[in-house]
Symmetry: C2
Amino acid sequence: MKSTIYDVAKAAGVSIATVSKVVNQTGNISVKTRERVLHIMKELQYQPSVVASALTGKKTSTFGLLISDLANPFFAEVARNLEDQAQAAGYSIVMCSTDNKDDKGLNYISLLQRKQIDGLIVACQFSQWSLLQDSLNANFPVVLFSKDIPSLSMHTVTVDDYRGGYQAIQHLISLGHSRIGVVTEDSPSGDHRVRGAKQAMNDAGIAVNDDWIVKVKSSIEEGCEGAAHVLQRDTRPTALFTCNDLLAVGSMQSAQQSGLRVPEDLSIIGFDDTILSKIVVPRLTTISQPIQEMAKETVQLLLRQSDTPDMPKQKIVFQPQLVEGLSTQPLQAK
Amino acid sequence: MKSTIYDVAKAAGVSIATVSKVVNQTGNISVKTRERVLHIMKELQYQPSVVASALTGKKTSTFGLLISDLANPFFAEVARNLEDQAQAAGYSIVMCSTDNKDDKGLNYISLLQRKQIDGLIVACQFSQWSLLQDSLNANFPVVLFSKDIPSLSMHTVTVDDYRGGYQAIQHLISLGHSRIGVVTEDSPSGDHRVRGAKQAMNDAGIAVNDDWIVKVKSSIEEGCEGAAHVLQRDTRPTALFTCNDLLAVGSMQSAQQSGLRVPEDLSIIGFDDTILSKIVVPRLTTISQPIQEMAKETVQLLLRQSDTPDMPKQKIVFQPQLVEGLSTQPLQAK
DNA sequence: TTGAAAGCGCTAACAA
DNA sequence: TTGTTAGCGCTTTCAA
């Protein structure tokens, strides 16, 4: 049977209060008793129960992570980085894939609250974001990860999606491209990226062709279909900006099916710099997010909220970075 | 403030025992009081505390998952499937990436025990497996996932690695290959797969060339280097069996660097059928594991162990399946 | 059919 | 410096 604080107290000939104090390093305990208690604890392999201490109002040292789909390489990487940062702070993470379904997310939240988690990271989408807000207690620690939802008054850590889109297009333009298509994902981030993309075209005096902009669900298959729509037109773009790597991979497949070579006939630039972009041939040019830094800030933000429940909401925006691969090249003169 | 069982009891004019009974559907409660209590619960948005009920000896409805690296696509997929199955049973999962480090794993286990999880899934490696056994209470529910460790008396769910290796080689042989190299991972599974591979060669009367067998760490980079060792010899194999998809991708890169075309000059067959194998060009021929089924059995096994602590240890072995891609082809006559 | 009360393992005043 | 004790929110006998 597992030993409790009572067992330790009895064996050490002290009260449970004393044991509690040495465990938590609170109060004043003589070196001698501390040593003795510590020794007994080891002997009995005493492990303080997180459950019992949580019941008295202390932390569970657990965060919840609502994520779209753990099997998606981008989110898997996000999860891993968050886990690392949390672990460094003594926390563990309960992973919850919501598939971006509101009800799944809401169910998880309710369950997580019953489990008394100390904070929540939201890295999935909601179709009705207000439901998220409503299901959470006013000062419950939350951070929106990689989602910038203006209607929500919540701490947020994101990459500058707008700027990322802008950079992507800027890169294509610098290579001489002016006929640029866009395959985007139906999400707030996707929208921001596209806005940035359009702005870059405008700033360069390049016409935005709405026929070349398609919005799809985030998957390789849909990316492939979406790109096909654009590529099979009479006049097609010479370069494609896709709002994430999954769509980029799909677009590369579509190009191949259309007999177009990447990058000779079509340049493609993605977003996220996941493992996919690294193994695809040609290596994808893409926009990378500093996931590790973002994860670090996210955990810090969660931690600080526990101490300062009413701290002013803040939004931390990281700058994306262009990673040049082999999927883009200067426009060939015809 | 969150409402407790006392609030509900008071509002409903009953005792907390009664509320507890309607919540847990135990004992005999008149329809009338039940309805009333239920109604009040809704009104007060009462959420029973998992922490408090766990303290009285009930479950936390939480499993721990020790996994090598959540960012690895194969493990991410495993994690996702386990999460789905657990969720269907009302459980959530705490994810712990150990990077196959014993101390990391052990620390997590200790933490998880303090959190009173109801079961543990081990899908990572230990260099000293006995440490795992020692750190766990005798009848604590555990399942080894995709690791077959004979020295450990634990419930196990695996794919038949030996057979998978055998099938891979059989496939290559059926295509006419007889000069076959192997790039494997330093792990028990890897070893099983290689044993199966060698057996298949023996059975076909094909010589096993140990110079063509390299054992590396599981990563794209090491796969690339490992394959290079084999491919840069004076006489090189015409086909390569790699013990997982990461190594396969690395090997494909190595082949490319050596100016070898896949599959014209070199056939490559992988293992796992992850997303990587699907996006790589040419699409990888590989051996797939029925991850979903495996996840399902794993969760069932965990659940049953809670009910029947001393149930006889069992090992469930699933059959792998060949997935034909485009990275293998019949041996070309020279 | 309902309720009183003990207890789960721990924390935190408050006393001593 | 140490100990006593009252909870934390819930489950579960055992009585009523």
